[in-house]
Amino acid sequence: MIASHFFRENRMLIYGYFLLMHVTGALSVFFWPELREQIDLIVQLIPLDGVRRFAEAFQTQGYWAYFDAQILFKGGGMVATAVAGLLGSGLIAREADRNTAEFLLSRPISRAQILFRRWLAGCAMLLIPFFSCVIFCWALSPQVGESLQLGRLLASTAHVSLFILAVFQATIWLSAHSTQQLRAGIIVLGFIMLNMAIYLVKHIWHYSIFNIIDLDVLLPLADRGAYPWKETTTLAAASLVFYFFSWRAFSRRDF
């Protein structure tokens, strides 16, 4: 009931996210043949170092690099994390924001259960469209004369998923302290934009959180099956820590 109610409240956002991911994913796949023809010229024209690194990877690594960049890095790392920010910011703060906390918390359901069920619903709402988009685009790839090994692709998707969940969890932690969803959402989206800006600047790009899911991490996995255990462990640990602190803040908070 708690999970389904959380879904119902956010369903328009999730439907939009699902549609956006699939439409832009399909368009990206079908744009590949055109890009492949002109990639040498494009590399020379790109002024930003951060973006040129991607284009150079397309030149050398081909479709894998393109797919990783478009679907996993851009779709998962940017679109899905933005949705995670919007979703997570409302998980607790919205109840305080619109004065429904008293109604919800007086029900015979523990705060730990409310947090867990909503978190679970949020994970499903974030990851099902993401995985679906990846598989959908993978299935479309033969249409442009490309094929990818599904196992390694899913491993890459799982890694990016942990990144999305870490952002989601950090947002919930903020939400547990905030009385306004908007404030929590703005902080998270601002943080994501700041990190993207840092990522595009030469010399400091490796300080960005997007460094954890960029092509330097994903391509070795695609090429050699080298799973980025260090980054994955960091993301999983961050999620766990943020979950613990979210639970603690929520369970101690007065409404």
Partner: protein, 296 residues
């Protein structure tokens, strides 16, 4: 059978002390009205009772469950209607009811649906389109449909029309007669007077008094308006330390303390043309208790 007990509950928000060692007790079948001016701490007290806010000290118990450590178990046996009428606007009345009674051991959805009809609440309309009074009724329905031995209601009469108030009063009276323990806060003293067995007065987070309603009213001075068939002087009227006369000629008013029967016996020999009881109600008691505060 329900029972609610709070012992020395205290709560501070920042530097402001909202509750100061408040203790109350309600037995099964009893309705206790919690009254006090705005900011007296009524809502905070009810929140602490249910674990929505954490008391700094003291403890509360609902049946055998301590609401601090066993807050979940305590909430399972307590239906609650909050004072804030904010609900999930995208849900309709039935969905709100389903969400509200989720998790209770023996909820009665049908009771809620029947009450929708009694209150003339549209079942399928989005709650966001409900008026303030309709939302108040919906919250009350949710609390009743939880089918718990205890009911805690924060301002259940607020925003209701007189007819709905009377209906809620009859509902609560029936619930108490079936053995439920009911605690409700209210500014509607007339309702409190009509249905409560006992009353607790809060001021600035401090419990001024908890006592049976009858006892409180008995302690208050009684007031009778008298018209006589012939003009009388003060000297002709019976004198006693508990009687206080004012007026002249044909019309006099009598204030007295103690049982009404005793006073009536003392004036029975007078040539009374008519008699009207203007005795103090709960509102007068409230005014007397809070007068300094209300005048500021």
């Amino acid at each position: 059978m329900g029972m609610i007990r709070a012992q020395s509950l205290s709560k501070t928000y920042g530097k402001k002390t909202v509750l100061r060692e408040v203790s109350i007790q309600i037995q099964n079948g009893e309705i206790l009205g919690l009254v006090g001016p705005n900011g007296a701490g009524k809502t905070t007290f009810l929140k602490c009772l249910l674990g929505i806010a954490r008391a700094d000290s003291g403890q509360a118990q609902i049946d055998s469950f301590c609401t601090g450590r066993q807050s979940l178990a305590a909430r399972k046996i307590t239906g609650f209607a909050p004072s804030v009428v904010s609900l999930y606007d995208n849900l309709n009345a039935v969905q709100t009811l389903q969400l509200a009674i989720h998790g209770y051991p023996a909820p009665k959805l049908q009771v809620g649906l029947d009450l929708f009809d009694a209150f003339q609440l549209p079942r399928q309309q989005a709650v966001g389109k409900f008026s303030h009074g309709m939302k108040r009724k919906l919250l009350l329905v949710c609390a009743l449909a939880a089918n718990t031995p205890n009911l805690v209601l924060d301002e259940p009469m607020e925003g209701l029309d007189p007819e709905a108030r009377r209906f809620v009063e009859s509902l609560l009276t029936a619930e108490a007669q079936s053995g439920r323990c009911i605690l409700f806060s209210s500014h509607d003293l007339a309702s409190v007077e009509r249905i409560c067995q006992s009353v607790a007065f809060l001021r600035d987070g401090l419990l001024l008094e908890q006592a049976p309603l009858a006892e409180i009213l008995d302690r208050a001075s009684r007031h009778i308006q008298l018209s006589f068939r012939e003009p009388l002087t003060l000297e002709q009227l019976p004198q006693h330390e508990n009687l206080q006369w004012s007026g002249q000629g044909l019309k006099w008013s009598l204030r007295f303390q103690g049982p009404t029967e005793k006073a009536l016996a003392m004036i029975s020999s007078l040539p009374i043309a008519s008699l009207r009881d203007s005795s103090a109600g709960l509102e007068d008691v409230f005014e007397a208790l809070y007068r300094p505060e209300l005048s500021t």
